[in-house]
């Protein structure tokens, strides 16, 4: 029986209609494409009226298939599937073809864009005839959640879920949770003491009955899918028995090996070979840094072992792989600082009194290496003038095109701290002052009042080459003051570089493990930048905080809470639908060649030894199609993307090439066979 197809071409306001002649296409499809029973165009197909139109047509016209030409399936596939369902049609008999992102938004020429849209509609009409009804599958949601990253965003998410009564595994790569916020002295714009507001959350997470804290641990591998992920965590060896250690700190105190602390102290202070990163660390269980420990270097010392009152030191402890099962994953792995050495003209690493912003955070931190005294590298001289350089590695095509968003405010915070603690003059060299959150502009006004000086311009160089006697022994900041249009030289004692926030080095790799993607720069891609900022394209994987893009603490906290709310919603619902778009192997025909066995990015293929054939574990398959393309015997079928559908789609797209009736198959006039 021939299908009865309804075709609906959307204007999307002027988003599509501005470049594509939607009315003409709808009319053309109705008149020229076989089996099209209804063809309409409409201002907004996704509106309730547009959906109603489809539903009414399905019922009245007894449509058996629906094609919608509109925006990306990411956006509205669910909408139109639902409309079809409501009218009693299997939702997988609908095809949404994208004539917005693929046509109107990317083409300039109206007639060409229209032709492309026509080809796509024709392709969809041919394809949809071969689509098959599919039944969605449901899986139970495991109520436990994995949170990766124990910064403020991850902590917030953890506590929200734990307080709601759900179990959370919090995995942090460093020996303590806390993230970057733990390194700060004060936080803008309120100037709250960072530790005072952070550490209560840290210890709450450390003691919560619903939280399993896994610090000094990393994600090894994820399999499964929303509702039932199987996760392998690598617990790195601390060389300390986690349960036996009481956190007394004798080992740390007595350890003879001091090393530069490039992590927590940002290179401004030292730590021991066995260490807790900071006094309020959670958990209070030290780790031995095997690269610096004397025992690992030359089998000497063991002071910590001898002095530990509970015999907790275990030099032969090995990494441990821990298997956990969770229903959802929240990634909150934060950011890493820009390497200021990449801009050699600013002198970092070469000129002693050029600091990175994180170094300066430690320098003015009351618990830092100088107890909060702002002094130069010699450890005693108090600077008389300080230059703060904005946008270092941000808003700079050679490094990062984006604005890091928080550094203007951090610069103002530094200005305030310097003015409060010293008599130094403070200059801010800014391109634009970005203070667009609650109470931020007020903070800027406050600093103007406190006497911080502002020079509008991009610093071209920081040098110690003096040209005038007043510049002798100083760092000279060369900058064009764009407000007066003049090149100026500013001699100062200290320079602070407000480095960009960058994605973590391993962001892409971690994303891959969890099945989510990154932007060009390496920030995780959210499902929708406006309407779904903490979900990702992979169901059950959420992102929160700065791993999704630069942002301040309030925004990171808000995202942590939002991600937790989304997860809690999934848990309460109890079941999730998983797409029936999966691969299946015709086991009768599988030759057991094993080509597909290593192929699946989701480990969804198993080999059955008895029958010597491969099988797809449906619950794990994401329908990516990798194995379908790889199977040399062609015995794997991807539901919703089978050969028939794809070839029909291609032929539909080439409708105009196929137009003129194929010329006779004879290659030349036929001569009678020679006599036999």
């Amino acid at each position: 029986m021939a299908e009865k197809i309804g075709v609906y071409v959307c204007h999307c306001g002027s988003n599509i209609a501005g470049k594509v002649d939607v009315e003409e296409i709808a009319q053309w499809a109705g008149e020229n494409l076989d089996d099209v029973a209804v063809s309409r165009d409409y201002k907004f197909m996704c509106s309730s009226l547009g959906q109603q139109m489809i539903e009414d047509d399905i019922k009245k016209e007894k449509l058996t298939r629906v094609v919608v030409g509109a925006c990306s399936p990411h956006l509205h596939e669910k909408t139109f599937r639902r409309a079809c369902s409501n009218a009693g049609m299997n939702p997988y008999l609908m095809d949404l073809t994208n004539i917005r992102e693929h046509c109107s938004w990317v083409h300039k020429d109206r007639s060409l864009a229209t032709e492309k849209a026509r080809a796509l509609i024709s392709a969809a009409v041919q394809r949809v005839k071969h689509q098959e009804p599919l039944e969605p599958m449901y899986v139970d949601v495991n109520p436990a959640t994995l949170v990766i990253g124990g910064g403020i965003a991850g902590l917030q998410a953890t506590l929200e879920l734990a307080d709601a009564g759900y179990h959370v595994y919090l995995v942090e790569r460093l020996p303590s949770i806390g993230g970057h916020m733990a390194q700060f002295d004060k936080t803008f714009p309120t100037l709250d003491c960072s530790a005072c507001i952070l550490t209560p959350k840290m210890s709450e997470a450390g003691q919560h009955e619903n939280v399993t804290l896994l610090t000094y641990a990393e994600l090894e591998e994820v399999s499964g899918s929303v509702g039932s992920f199987k996760v392998k965590i690598r617990q790195k060896s601390r060389c300390v028995d986690y349960d036996a250690c009481t956190g007394c700190g004798i080992c740390v105190e007595k350890c003879p090996r001091k090393v530069l602390d490039t992590e927590f102290e940002a290179g401004m202070g030292n730590r021991k070979a066995i260490y807790m990163p900071f006094p309020q660390a959670v958990p209070r269980v030290p780790v031995i840094d095997q690269d610096s420990c004397i025992w690992f270097e030359r089998q000497k010392c063991r002071a910590c072992e001898k002095l530990c009152p509970t015999d907790a030191i275990k030099f032969d402890q090995e990494d441990e792989l821990i298997d956990i099962e969770v229903g959802n994953i929240i990634i909150a792995t934060g950011w890493k600082p820009f390497d200021s050495k990449k801009i050699p003209q600013y002198g970092y690493g070469r000129l002693a009194n050029v600091y990175t912003s994180m170094e300066f955070e430690r320098l003015c931190n009351a618990a830092g290496p100088t107890n909060g005294k702002i002094v130069m590298r010699d450890g005693k001289t108090v600077p008389k003038s300080i230059a703060i350089v904005h946008c270092v590695g941000s808003r700079d095509d050679r490094h990062n095109p984006y604005c890091s968003g928080i550094c203007c405010m951090a610069a103002l915070k530094f200005g305030h701290l310097v003015l409060e603690k010293t008599d130094a003059e403070v200059y801010s060299f800014y391109i634009d002052m970005r203070t667009n959150q609650k109470n931020y502009e007020e903070f800027y006004q406050r600093l103007l009042g406190e006497g911080m000086r502002f020079v509008r311009g991009k610093v071209s160089e920081v040098t110690d080459a003096a040209r005038m006697p007043t510049e002798q022994g100083k760092l000279i900041v060369q900058c064009e003051d764009t407000l007066i249009g003049r090149q100026q030289r500013y001699p100062v004692d200290m320079v602070i570089l407000m480095g960009a926030l960058e994605p973590q080095e391993d962001a892409r790799e971690l994303g891959l493990k969890c099945g989510i993607s990154c932007s060009m720069e390496g920030w995780y891609t959210e499902r929708h930048p406006k309407l779904d900022p903490v979900a990702t394209m992979t169901d059950g994987v959420f992102v929160a905080g700065t791993c999704q893009g630069p942002k301040d603490i309030p925004a990171s906290v808000a995202q942590g809470a939002a991600a937790a709310a989304r997860v809690a919603g999934m848990i309460t619902k109890g079941k999730v639908m998983i797409e029936p778009i999966v691969a299946s192997i015709n086991e009768q025909a599988c030759s057991g060649c094993k080509i597909c066995n290593n192929m699946c990015p989701y480990n969804a293929i198993e080999f059955i030894e008895e029958t010597e054939t491969s099988r797809v574990i449906t619950a794990l398959c994401k329908g990516c199609g990798t194995c379908v393309a790889a199977c040399p015997a062609g015995v794997i079928t991807g539901a919703h993307f089978n050969n028939k559908q794809i070839f029909a789609e291609i032929e539909g797209a080439l409708w105009d090439a196929l137009q003129p009736a194929a010329e006779s198959s004879s290659q030349a006039e036929t001569v009678p066979a020679s006599a036999s």
Binding site: S591, N598, A630, G634, F647, Q667, V671, A673, S676
Partner: protein, 340 residues
């Protein structure tokens, strides 16, 4: 008569069926393989009258021309369509046969003669008739002509086409029997199917729907390949999958039917049984499978692995199937003079 003798033979009182076996662009191996069914040929003879088989029996085209449409019960047609005469015979036999079977690789997918589709008529003739090739002596540069005037009148030769077509690119085909040549036991099985009257759906390939690996006794562990080797470079062990030893074995992609003959004697499968059921393009399938198991992420290294290990991609992936593939032929050069 053996016990498995067909019951529809004349022993049953039924009229004998009519069988035609024809060859077009092919090598004759298919006929040899038919004879290879051995004494079963007597069963065939009991069931059918052989109305045509140029290789082994006399038979005239004009007799076929005189037959009623559909008078022949079964025609086993081997060979691709390269000339006008072959096209004529394909059309004629289609018309006169109830059941037309594309028999063997040439008819089903073009096979070795189909590799000529990498070239055109001009190039093929240049190669065959110039005196420059060692085996050719043709000082007058004589070329075959469709029509030649001689004192006695006009002589006709079939026109040689630019492109070799498979049988089903030329006429409607009922069933397919793959293989270069089809293995004798498979031929007998197919004949049994035909005699049973229990016919598969039109367009079916009579045979298996799995691939050679299914019959290959070699053990398979892990397909991750760092280097493709050519057969003369290694003596493979006789336990492990040849592909896993670096030899490009087409058994993965090739329809079962041969019983994995080649891999069992340490020689990689070259794909003579064609694509498996439902596969549109043998070469593309095989290629994407091999591409999936190359063990490298580095584009330069991958290039190296491919260029060193696969010096003849067409011969590796399309040896038997070029004419029947989605591409059908190499890119056509600008139209050349068409005289033969």
């Amino acid at each position: 008569m053996s016990e498995s003798a067909p019951t529809s033979g004349n022993g049953n009182g039924k009229a004998k069926g009519k069988l035609a076996i024809y060859w077009a662009a092919s090598c004759g191996g298919c006929e040899i393989s038919i004879l290879g069914i051995d004494t079963k040929i007597l069963d065939v003879a009991a069931a059918f009258d052989l109305v045509m088989c140029p290789c082994i029996a006399d038979g005239k085209v004009r007799d076929i021309e005189k037959m009623a449409d559909g008078e022949i019960d079964v025609c086993l047609f081997n060979g691709g369509i390269r000339t006008s005469e072959q096209e004529y015979m394909a059309r004629l036999l289609r018309q006169k046969s109830k059941c037309l079977i594309a028999f063997g690789s040439c008819a089903t997918e073009g096979c070795i003669p189909g590799l000529g589709n990498l070239h055109n008529r001009q190039e093929i003739f240049d190669n065959s008739y110039t005196s420059e090739t060692h085996s050719t002596e043709n000082p007058d540069n004589v070329r075959p002509q469709a029509v030649t005037e001689v004192p006695e009148g006009k002589l006709h030769l079939p026109i040689f086409y630019d492109t070799l077509k498979t049988l089903d690119q030329t006429v409607d085909v009922d069933y397919y029997l793959p293989g270069c040549p089809p293995e004798s036991p498979r031929i007998w099985e197919a004949i049994e199917v035909l005699l049973s009257g229990n016919l598969p759906a039109k367009g079916a390939t009579i045979g298996e729907n799995t691939t050679v690996c299914d019959y290959c006794p070699r053990t398979r562990k892990n397909k991750k390949i760092k280097e493709f080797k050519r057969t003369w470079e290694v003596i493979p062990d006789d336990e492990t999958c040849l592909l896993e030893q670096g030899l490009i074995c087409a058994g993965l992609a090739t329809r079962a039917g041969c019983g994995a003959l080649c891999p069992q004697v340490n020689s990689p499968c070259i794909g003579c049984y064609g694509p498996n059921e439902g596969v549109e393009d043998y070469g593309a399938r095989f290629l994407s499978a091999l591409a999936s198991v190359i063990d490298s992420e580095d584009p330069d290294e991958i290039d190296e692995i491919i260029s060193k290990g696969i010096p003849d991609p067409i011969g590796t992936f399309y040896r038997f199937s070029l004419a029947g593939s989605l591409m059908r032929r190499g890119k056509r050069p600008a139209p050349a003079a068409t005289s033969q």
